[in-house]
Structure formats: C-alpha cells, structure tokens
C-alpha cells in the first residue's frame, strides 16, 4: 500500500533574474548603519593598515571611524572652511586634506594640529593625495593647477597647468612614485609623469570627470563623469575599452573591491552598482540620497557610502559565524524541546535498535485533499499568508484540483467574501507567466458558475470589471510584442547571409537521380 503523495509545489524561476555567485556575494551584507555627519560627505578613505579605520571628510571636519564603531575615534576640526579629500598615506600614519580656502594640511594620525601646511593654491583644493613614495603630496585645485609638494620641507616642487577647468579627480600610481592621473571638468583625463614634468597621455572622457581610478595592475583606468563610466587601456596608449551607461544621473564616485577587483560605482541617482569582470551589473545597492563618495574596506568587510544629506551609510559583511551564534542563542519553546527529546540520542554499538515507521507529516491542504475535501483545501490554500507570500502553493493546489477534475466543485457555492478572495488573487497573478495558465481556467470556471448571480453583488462585479480591463491591457501588450517580434524577424532574415543556399549548391554533384535538395 503506497502512502499518500503530497501535492508537488513547482518552484519556477522568476524570469529575468539570474542568481549568480556575484549576486550572492554582494547580497551578503547586513542592513546599513547610518551615521549623521555635519554636511555632505565628499570623501571616504580607508587606512591601508589594519584595523582599517577610515577617514570621512564632511563639512569642516575629518572624522576617523573604526570599522565597527559608530562614534568617531578621532576628529580633525582645525579647518576654517570646508575640508576636501582627506586621504591616508601608504603606511596609514599621515593624513592629507585640502580645503575650500586653498590650504593643504598634513596631519599625524595621532595628533590634532596640522604638521605641515602647504600654501600656494589660489582656489579651493578638492583632491589631495600622497604619491607612492610617501614623501610627496599631489593636489588638484580649482585654480586649474596641479601641484606636487615635498612633505619634509613643505615646499612646492612643481606646478602643472595643463587642464583648462577645475580638477576634481586624482589618482596616484601605486607602482611608480612619479606617475599620477587627474581628471578635470574640461572633459579630459591626463596622466602626468613627474620626471618629464608634463602630461604623457590625455584621454577625452566627453563629460566633466568626477572620479578617476587605477586598477591595481595599472593597465586599466576608470573615469567617471556625466552618466558614463569609461574604462581605458593604458597599455594600448589610452584606448577606450568599455563605456558603461548604467546610471541615469552623474556618476560621482567609483572604487574597486579587494576580492576579485570588481568595480563599484555610485551616482547621484542614489544607486551603487556592482559590475562583474565583463562589466555587467550584478548587484545594486539602494541609498536614501544622492551619493557623493564611496569606499570599500580591504577584504570587502565594509562598504561605506557618503551622501549629499550628510549621512554616512556603512554596510558590514555577514559572516557565517554570526548566523550560527544567532540561531544557537535563540531559545526554543518548551513544546519544541519535548518534540526533539531523544532525537539526538546516539546509540551505542551494542544497543539493539527498534526502528519505528516514520510518520508522514502532511500540510493542511494535503490532509484535506487526502480526504477529498476539495473546497476546504482551496480555502486553506487561499489563506492570507499563503496567497501573499507563497502564491506558488496556492497555484499548485489549484493545479492539483484541476487534475483531479474537481476544480469546479471547489469553486462552486461560495459567498461574496470568499469569491472576492479568489478574484483578488486572480487580479494579482493572472498575468504572471508562471501562473497564468491555471488561473485563466479558474477565471473561466468562476464566470461559468456565477454568471447568473453576478449582478447581486456590486463588489464582485467591480472586481470582474477590473479583471476584464487588466486582461484587455495584457492582450494588447501581447499583440504589440508579437508585432515587434515580427519586425525583428524580418530584420534578422534580411541580415543573415544566404548561407543555406550556398551550402546546398556545394553539395556533391554525383547525387542520385532521386535525391532532391529541397
């Protein structure tokens, strides 16, 4: 005697959504921690040394936060005007920042007062950075100049004026202490070599450049500006590799993840997009406000995003360990403990085992189906929780009833309330391609059954009206889609070369007389 086979719920994949390893990786972040700053967050920089504190430049201050702290560990407040571009040196001991007044300050990470001040820029300095030897600082300013400063003596080593607009982006090379890349509002990205004292490469981005970024190999360069993200191949003399247009507002910042060098871009459209190695968007973080700055901690532990409304949102990676402790900490109720009592008992070697048949646990609708209570089973499947969060279960029960030939019986004899439930479910899911087929049958049967009494209930009548509208729209859409498909077919047909004919012509000549090449 076979046991009852429960209803099989088919899990059809949702169309257009592909779960890849990348999406899983980037989904694995906790919900963000929000930290309020005093003004728009313009720059975030992680210290290259453990414990990877990060400096957040906002308004007239630079705060340094620990990875897991929400209060600043240290803050540098000696700015008279807005501070910009606070960034760490390669050893994480010094911090350099520009400001609105044109002054560049150098801080020791432990001190409060600036160790050095570099004066010379006549306008605001938005970007500053150490060169990779650690003894020089490079800065880009709104006065169109790019200056290199000597740290020990605090003197200006050189000043280059090649850009014709504000310089708002800067990236020093990590491999060569004499190279750095700047991006400017004059739509160009330039690579400077300190040895020659001038630019060695110029690339036309086409929009005001907001951010430049070098890949660790320094063969690829990323520039963002306008709605575009462009990748340049430096080894091919600055040839454009890819141009991405995934944001619908200006892309303000870009950074690389440390695992797998995935590109992340943030934009004023409040999205952070994550690209895979073939530059397809694999994940998307949503934020509350326009994004100005972004940084990823080493090992991708933290993604920090700074926004125009002065909120710093920090996402921490989930770890398996955390999950385990969470579940183990959760205390089960006494009934659960009774239920599992003795289940984890490990028998000794010489124990005699008496096995007892495993009881089959059935869902409620399965129990009702087993005893042929079809109406009740449908009611169970249409319960609030099931029909909203697991529509596939409801549909599976409907399919099962249809297979048993009892769908009509299950739908018959319902009052206004339960009929509304069914119609609501239909309205919500009838054009989901996964469910439309069984649900259309349900709609048909409902109409057949209740045609005579429809006018008695205005509620049901209204719902049917809506269903009709919705179906009409869907039919129109389908028709349009078919038209588009037809257009595309003709296009493709005219594009493909007539290879088949050629292949047939090349057939061997000694074909039998009966053979007809069609």
């Amino acid at each position: 005697m076979a046991s009852f086979k429960p209803t099989k719920v088919q899990f059809l994949p949702k169309l257009g959504e592909k779960v890849t390893e990348d999406t899983l990786y980037w989904k694995n972040y906790k919900s963000p921690v929000q930290i309020k700053e005093f003004g728009a967050v313009t720059k975030i920089d992680f210290s290259p040394l453990a414990p990877h504190n990060y400096a957040v430049t906002a308004s007239t201050r630079i705060h340094v936060y620990g990875l897991h702290s929400q209060e600043p560990i240290r803050s540098f407040t000696r700015f008279r005007d807005t501070a910009y571009g606070g960034s760490f040196r390669g050893d994480g001991k010094l911090l350099v920042a520009g400001s609105e007044e044109g002054l560049i300050r150098l801080f020791d990470i432990c001190g409060r007062v600036a160790l050095r001040q570099f004066t010379g820029h006549s306008k605001a300095v938005h970007v500053t950075s150490f060169l990779s030897d650690g003894f020089r600082v490079v800065s880009g300013s709104d006065d169109l100049t790019c200056r290199v400063w000597d740290v020990p003596s605090a003197v200006e080593l050189s000043s280059i004026t090649e850009h014709t607009d504000y310089i708002r982006a800067l990236a020093p090379s990590k491999l060569n202490p004499d190279l750095f890349v700047t991006g400017s509002y004059d739509h160009t990205v330039k690579v400077f070599d300190m040895r020659s004292g001038s630019s060695v490469m110029t690339m036309q981005h086409g929009h005001p450049v907001e951010c430049v970024l070098l890949y660790p190999s320094e063969a690829l360069l990323v520039s963002t500006g306008g709605r575009y993200v462009k990748i340049w191949d430096l080894l091919k003399g600055g040839q454009e590799l890819v141009s991405l247009k995934n944001h619908h507002k200006t892309v303000t910042c870009a950074c690389l993840s440390s695992v797998g060098n995935k590109l992340l871009t943030g934009s004023l459209d409040r999205h952070v997009k994550v690209y895979n190695s073939s530059y397809k968007v694999v994940h998307n973080f949503d934020c509350d406000a326009s994004i100005l700055s972004m940084a990823v901690a080493p090992d991708d532990e933290v993604v920090a995003v700074g926004m125009t409304n002065g909120v710093l949102s920090v996402r921490h990676r989930k770890h398996k360990k955390d999950k385990e402790t969470l579940t183990s900490r959760r205390r089960r109720g006494p009934s659960y403990r009774v239920f599992v009592k003795g289940k984890n008992f490990v028998p000794r070697q010489d124990d005699f085992l008496v096995s007892k048949p495993v009881k089959q646990y059935l869902r409620k609708y399965d129990k009702q189906l087993k005893s042929f209570e079809v109406s009740k089973a449908l009611d169970t499947a249409l319960q609030m929780w099931t029909r909203t969060s697991k529509p596939e279960v409801t549909v599976a029960v409907i399919i099962e009833l249809n297979r048993r030939g009892t769908l009509k019986n299950a739908l018959a004899g319902r009052n206004e309330e339960s009929l509304t439930k069914i119609l609501n479910f239909l309205l919500k899911h009838i054009f989901d391609p996964r469910f439309s087929r069984p649900l259309l049958t349900v709609g048909d049967i409902v109409l057949d059954l209740y045609r005579q009494v429809l006018h008695q209930s205005p509620v049901v009548e209204r719902q049917l009206q809506r269903l009709m509208e919705v179906l009409g729209r869907e039919a129109e859409l389908q028709q349009e889609l078919l038209q588009v498909l037809g257009i595309l077919d003709t296009l493709f047909a005219s594009l493909t070369p007539r290879k088949e004919v050629a292949a047939l012509a090349a057939l061997p000549v000694d074909q039998g007389p009966q053979l007809q090449a069609a």
Binding site: M1, A2, S3, F4, K5, P6, T7, K8, Q10, L12, K18, T20, E21, K280, L369, K370, E400, R403, R404, G405, R437, T441, E500, A503, L504, L507, P508, D510, Q511, G512, Q514, L515, Q516, A517, A518
Partner: protein
C-alpha cells in the same frame, strides 16, 4: 520462401495473472492464479513463483479447489478441457474433455463430482450468449476422460463470471444478468427471478456487476454499476423478498466476497480501496486504501486469515485479516496500451516500459520477474473512471544508462495539453534514478520523439515536437557564472521550413543527427549545428529512421507511410536501394549490423531481418502474428550463442522481443536455446517445490549439513557413487558463503584432488609443481605460528594420501605444514564425498 523450422515465435512470460480470482490453498501457503495457458503457484509468505501447472493449450479461464481433496485444483480452459491437478507437486491428475470452450468454473461441497461451467451458447451465433451447465465428472482410472453428461442449469447468463455464486451449503445458485437477479434452488428445481428498474429518479445505474452469497445465512449481496451494494433477503418466497442498500463506492463495484464465517463482506472497485463491511451491523466499515490499480477480484482463504485482491495492473496483493498488506505478487504490468517504446536499461538489462499509472516499470526478462516501479509523475493517482491523468508517454536511456529522459502528458483529448520533460540521473548509492531536471514548457506542442546521442563523452538529448522544432538539450555551462551546472538546459533550437518533424536519430558515433521533416530527411552536425544535407524520396511521410551500425554505419534507413523502405548512402548522399514494403516497426540491433523490420500486410505481420549493405534479407519469418506490431526491442544476450545456422545467426548476439496490439510479449527463440531453458526451468521446480522461508533456508539447510557431517567421512569415501558427488556439489553450492572456507583454499584442494584421483603417479611432477606454486602463494600471507608442527594429519591429508597410495608422500615444506594446520581447523568433511565420488 521456406518456412524456418529452427527459429520460432514463443510467447514470453508476463501474461495476465488477474483474469480470474486467485485462490488461496486451504493451508494458506499457496496462492494459485490463472496466467495465460497455465496456472501459476506462488507462495503467500515469500511471494516467490514456485511453479506453474502447464498443460492447457489455450487460455485458462477458471480455477477452483477440489472440495473433496484440498490438495487438488480444477482448472478449465478455452480449449474445452477441465483438468485436475495436484498443485503442490505440479502433477496433472486427470483431464476431462468437455468439447466446448469453457469460460468459468464453479464447484460446491454439496455437489460432489459435479462442476458447473460457463460455456458459450452453441445455438446462438452471437458471442454474447452464455450458458451455465452442470457437468458430472465420470469416475474412471484413465488419464483422459470424456465428460458427456451435460445438463443446463440456465441459459442467457452474464458473461462476467463474478455474476454467479453458490448459496448457503450449495442449496441454491444465484446469477445475475443486466438488471435481473436469478436464484435457482436445486431442491425445488425452480428459478426465481427478481428484477430492478434500469434507472430511478436520481439516475442510478442499477445493472448488476457482481454477486456473493452468505455462507451460513440466506442472504445474497449484489454489487451495482453505480457503486451500490444491495443485500437481498427472504428470496425463498418469491413475492416477499426484501433488500437493503448500502452505498460507499462511487463507481461500479467490481467484486464482492464474504469471509468464510460470514462476519464480514469485502468489496472492491475502481477506487482501489478494499472495503470491509461488518455483516449485520449496518454501516460499519473498514478501509484499506491505495492498493494500486483498481480491484478486480477479492478472495478469502478458507480459514479467513488471508485475503487476496487482484488488481488491474496485473498484481495480486495478499492481505492479512487485520487489514495489513503482507505480500505483493506483481506480473508484467500491461496497461491499456504501452505508450513508451520497449527499452532496455543498459545497467540492469531489464525491460523498461509503462507500468503502473505514472510509473515506469523495470522487468527482468531473464527471471520473468518484476523488479521495481520508478515513480515518474510523483503525484497522487486518483482512481476514478474517466479522469484524465498524467501518463508517461516517452522515455529514453542514454547509452551508459546514466541518464533517463521521460515525457509525461495529460489532456491528450482536450485542448489544453500539459506535458513535462524530466531528466533522471542514476544514483549509485541508492541504485535508482533520481530526478535531476524538470522542464515545464520544453516545446509549445506535443513531443513526438526523443533520443540521446550515443557518444561516450558528452550526453545530449534531442527532442522533436509538433510545433515544428527540434531542440537539443545538454548539461551545459551557464554563460553568466561560467560554472558547470548539473542540470540540463536547451542548447539549440532547429527547424526546417516550418515542417512538422516526424522522427530523429543519432548515428552510432553521434557525429550526425538525422531529423525527418515530413518527406525530407535533414542531416545535422551536432557539434556545429550546421545543416549538412537533406535527403528526400517522395511520396510519403517518413515514419522511422535508423542509422546502420558497425560496418554499415554509412547507411541510413528510413521507412515512409507510403510503403517504402529506403536505404541511403551517407557518403554519396544517394539512395542505395529501396523496396516497397509496408513497415510498421523498424528496429536496429545495437550489437550487430542487423536491422529488423516488421511489416503488416493482409492481416498478418511478417518479419524481415537484413543488413543495410545488402538488400537481400538475412532472415524472413512469415506470419509472425495476426496483429500489427509497433513495439520491439533487441535485448543483448548475457553470453552470445554460437549458432552457425544461417537463419538463426542473427539471434546470436541479442534477442528480439516484441509486443503485439493485444499486449502479448513475444520473442524468437532457437532450438538450442529452448533446450537450455527447459533444463533450467525443471531444476528450478525441484529446488523450490517446498515453500522455503529465509529462516528455513538458514536453519533447515544447516541441519541437513550437520547430519551429513555426523556420518563418518571415510565410509562415504569407500562408496564411490555418482549421485553422491552431485549431492556434495549441491551441498557446496547451498552452504552459505560465510560458512565456507576461503575460495583460494577450496579451489586448490579441489583441483589437486581431481589430479590425484584421475592420474595418480604419472602426473606427479605436475602436482609437485602445483604444490610449489601453492606454497609460493601462501608464503606471502603466512602468519608466524610457533606451535608444534608435525601433528597427526587430518582427514583431508589422509584422503589425499589415500588417493595415491603407491606414491611416496612428498616431504612437506614448513609453509605447507602451516597451511595444512590452518586448513585443519576448519571442517571440510563434506568435501570427502566429493573427492570420493570421482572415479
């Protein structure tokens, strides 16, 4: 054409065991059931098939225990004879020749020496008319007796044998036909009849379907077409009869049966639920649901401890009186039609075809035994008449038996067709197939055919469907994640001028795929999915396609609906030869070049076996059977035969099985093979003539062995007798493996004993050589044993010496002695018999 006498068509096993109610023997040890032209005897405990009672020349249509002797059984057959058997030993005792085709048999304790039979009305030309006759069986010592004393009890009875039953102590017999119930009283020699209206207000269908009489009470239970059960009482007075109605079944009641004491009434129908009604308490009932297949017959053993139900899926279930299933006897399931092709599982070499509804069955042809059912649909089957449910319609195995593809379909008749394509992978651990991928909308219309590519490295499935497309599926790499998936996805979609494809086939090395679109065969390369060439030979739509194998792999054979069999040469893309023959099934042998074609012409089927490279057939068999054949399969043999005869050579590597429209599984067999089969089957009967439980096997055999051990082995050695040897060999074969000494020890001793007794001194050097090699072998695994070495030799050693008395005992090496000592510890005295038996 000369008729081949060497090769003949034989019916191969798997016949219906559910035609008539099974019978449980009085001691509840055996179940007897009709099976084709024989009666099969099964054990109730072990469900093993013990033997069959063979002798009838036509379908056996009824069996009944001899009321005078509970070890004997009557069987009647359509060949017009009633036979009396001793079913324990399988001996035919008597044959009574009646002379008319018989359709059912009834016996009663009251009427000794009389059997009641259903025969067709000889006066009536229509086949519908049946007659119940009483036949007095003459008492004579002869084997074959003609029984001439026929007296008609009633004419115009129902053709359904369950509509007739004996009443209390054989006083009356009740039979029903359509809407009339008749009761014939033997004492009064009168028939009372009671009739029902065809329908009442509620639209009930009142026709009788079955009947049962209470064993001790004057009560008749009748089952009806609409599922009602009526209990008739007081029918002795014609005018004052009463009946009560009970209703649970929602479809026709197929069978009714009272338990021997009359306390319960068992009923069964299409629902596949056995219902037990308590007699006399109204509506109290018990259920045993989901027995599988609708219940056709129920019978109870004479002590009431066991019930037997036979089901429409060719199954007999043995049920204890506590309503617990204790045994299932499963025949080859043959549904209404076999929708899948006949297939061979490459791993188990089992025949695979449709089984229970929604299942594929694996049937061992070698042992004529059902192996298991694989649940394909995985849904609760609702036993209800006229319900359209999922059925497995297509199945295919890949060449290694690692993948199985199935298509299940529902709603063939209605407009909305539902179907699923499922792929199953073989799981080594569970030794079964596990669902890997379910594809819900593989095509937009019905799948016509599918085949796996036959190459070893990559597995690919090609499906063709009525939507004009063919699709290639493989277990591929996902483009996005660049990772190996273990599920299947679509690789290529192809079509040809929107024509409807009809068949597809891969070449033997999978380098070519042939897909036929109506009249055109297209050849594709599966590597690049390029259309290589098209072949066409109008008129007629292509029906079957198959590539040649081995040396004929350059040929492609196709059959069309317009009676044309074409052979294409793929190297020249030209038609090699064609012939006009109506082919209903084309099947190629996977192990040889041979191709078998079944042709249906003028109401009988012929078989042609040919090689594609020569248009002359290798073998022809006219008039294989009278029905059309659509399913056939070549089954690779375990060991190839070596027939040199030209006509039977094609059967050397594999055997051809085919299924007729009447669902008979037939095969071709050669003379030599039949001899072998006969000898093996007789041995089986001897071995299993007693019902053997596993416990008996374990203890009973052991006891026998011990008895043998107790007899002194020397005595046995003194009496060299031929049968003794065979007994010892069976002993050796029957001893459980864990009790036996290691095979290495046994083998060398066995061989050396043979050498001594046969050759003696002459072969001495050889023996020494063998011993030395034995010594080498043993020295590898010798254990350090410091006990005293030269002890008295055991009986084995003595025996060896005895065998060659005139020979000087060779000096034993140390290793040898150690080995001997080890051997001595185990008891091989039974071996003495074996050694002694050799002349």
């Amino acid at each position: 054409m000369v008729e081949e006498s060497d090769v003949r068509v034989v019916r191969f096993g798997g016949s219906k065991i559910n035609l008539r109610p099974p019978i449980i023997s009085t001691d509840s040890r055996f179940v007897l059931c009709t099976s084709g032209d024989s009666v099969k005897v099964y054990s109730t405990r072990t469900e093993e098939w013990l033997h069959s009672l063979q002798g009838h020349t036509n379908q056996v249509t009824g069996i009944a225990l001899n009321p005078a002797n509970h070890l004997q059984v009557y069987s009647c057959s359509a060949d017009g004879t009633v036979k009396l058997w001793d079913f324990i030993d399988g001996i035919l005792i008597k044959t009574f020749i009646i002379g008319y085709p018989l359709f059912a048999i009834y016996v009663s304790e009251k009427h000794e020496g009389i059997v009641f039979l259903h025969i067709a009305m000889d006066t009536d030309s229509k086949k519908e008319g049946f007659q119940l006759v009483a036949v007095h069986l003459p008492k004579s010592a002869e084997q074959e007796v003609e029984a001439k004393e026929l007296s008609a009890v009633s004419s115009h009875i129902s053709p359904n044998p369950s509509c007739t039953a004996f009443g209390r102590e054989g006083q009356y017999i009740a039979f029903a036909r359509n809407l009339q119930l008749n009761v014939y009283f033997f004492r009064k020699q009168k028939t009372y009849s009671f009739s029902l209206k065809a329908t009442d207000k509620k639209g009930a269908k009142n026709a009788f379907t079955c009947i049962a009489c209470h064993p001790t009470d004057d009560c008749i239970a009748t089952g009806h077409e609409d599922g009602k059960i009526r209990l008739w009482r007081n029918f002795i007075h014609k005018k004052e009869y009463t009946y009560s109605t009970q209703h649970w079944h929602h479809n026709a009641v197929n069978t009714l049966c009272f338990t021997p004491e009359g306390t319960n009434l068992l009923s069964g129908g299409i629902e596949s639920v056995l219902v037990q009604w308590q007699y006399g308490t109204g509506n109290r009932k018990e259920f045993l649901p989901r027995l599988g297949g609708s219940i056709l017959h129920v019978s109870a053993s004479s002590d009431g401890q066991l019930f037997c139900t036979s089901h429409s899926d060719n199954k007999i279930t043995v049920i204890e009186s506590s309503f617990k299933v204790c045994g299932v006897i499963q025949g080859l399931v043959k549904g209404d039609a076999v929708l899948t092709d006949l297939m061979i599982d490459p791993r188990s070499k089992a025949l695979v075809l449709n089984g229970k509804p929604g299942h594929l069955q694996f049937y061992s042809l070698l042992r004529d035994k059902h192996l298991y059912n694989l649940d394909i649909v995985q849904q609760e089957y609702i036993y209800e008449a006229g319900l359209d449910q999922f059925e497995v319609v297509k199945a295919a195995f890949d060449i290694k038996g690692y993948w199985l593809a199935t298509v299940e379909e529902r709603g063939q008749k209605s407009a909305d067709l539902e179907f699923f394509l499922k792929l199953w992978s073989y799981d080594e651990r569970t030794q079964s197939f596990v669902l890997n991928t379910t594809i819900t909308a593989a095509h937009t219309d019905r799948i016509i055919s599918m085949c796996f590519s036959s190459s070893e490295e990559t597995t690919m499935l090609v499906t063709i469907a009525e939507d004009g497309q063919f699709k290639a599926w493989c277990q591929g790499v996902d483009a996005d994640t660049k990772q190996d998936q273990n599920f299947w996805s679509c690789d290529f979609v192809g079509s040809y001028h929107n024509l409807k494809p009809t068949n597809c086939s891969f070449s033997a090395d999978s380098s070519l795929l042939a897909v036929s679109f109506q009249e055109v065969i297209t050849i594709w390369s599966p590597d690049t999915w390029e259309l290589l060439t098209t072949l066409c030979q109008p008129p007629g739509v292509i029906r079957d396609l198959c590539f040649g194998r081995l040396s004929c792999s350059k040929y492609l054979i196709s059959t069309t609906t317009r009676n044309l069999l074409c052979c294409w040469n793929l190297l020249t893309c030209a038609l090699e030869w064609s012939t006009s023959v109506e082919v209903s099934k084309l099947q190629s042998d996977p192990l040889s070049e041979n191709v078998a074609a079944f042709s249906y012409q003028s109401k009988h089927t012929d078989l042609f076996v040919f090689k594609p490279n020569e248009p002359r057939p290798l073998f022809t068999h006219k008039n294989v059977c009278s029905e059309k054949i659509h399913r056939a399969v070549f089954v690779p043999r375990e060991e190839p035969l070596n027939n040199c005869d030209e006509s039977s050579q094609w059967l050397n590597r594999s055997q051809l099985y085919f299924l007729t429209q009447n669902m008979d599984l037939l095969t071709f067999s050669t003379a030599t093979e039949e001899d072998r089969m006969l000898s093996s089957s007789t041995r089986l009967v001897i071995d299993d003539s007693v019902a053997v439980t596993p416990f008996y096997l374990l203890l009973g055999k052991h006891r026998q062995q011990q008895q043998k051990l107790n007899t002194p082995s020397h005595q046995a050695a003194d009496r060299p007798q031929q049968p003794q040897g065979s007994v010892t060999i069976t002993e050796l074969l029957h001893t459980p493996a864990h009790v036996l000494p290691p095979a290495s020890v046994l083998c060398s001793m066995f061989v050396s004993s043979l050498l001594i007794s046969n050759t003696g001194v002459l072969q001495d050097p050889l023996r020494k050589e063998m011993e030395s090699s034995e010594q080498e072998m043993n020295s590898e695994k010798e254990e350090e044993d410091s006990e005293g070495e030269m002890e008295a030799c055991d009986s084995q050693q003595e025996l060896r010496v005895q065998g060659s008395v005139d020979e000087v005992t060779p000096k034993l090496s140390k290793a040898q002695e150690r080995e001997l000592k080890r051997v001595r510890k185990t008891d091989f005295s039974w071996m003495a018999g074996l050694i002694a038996s050799k002349p």
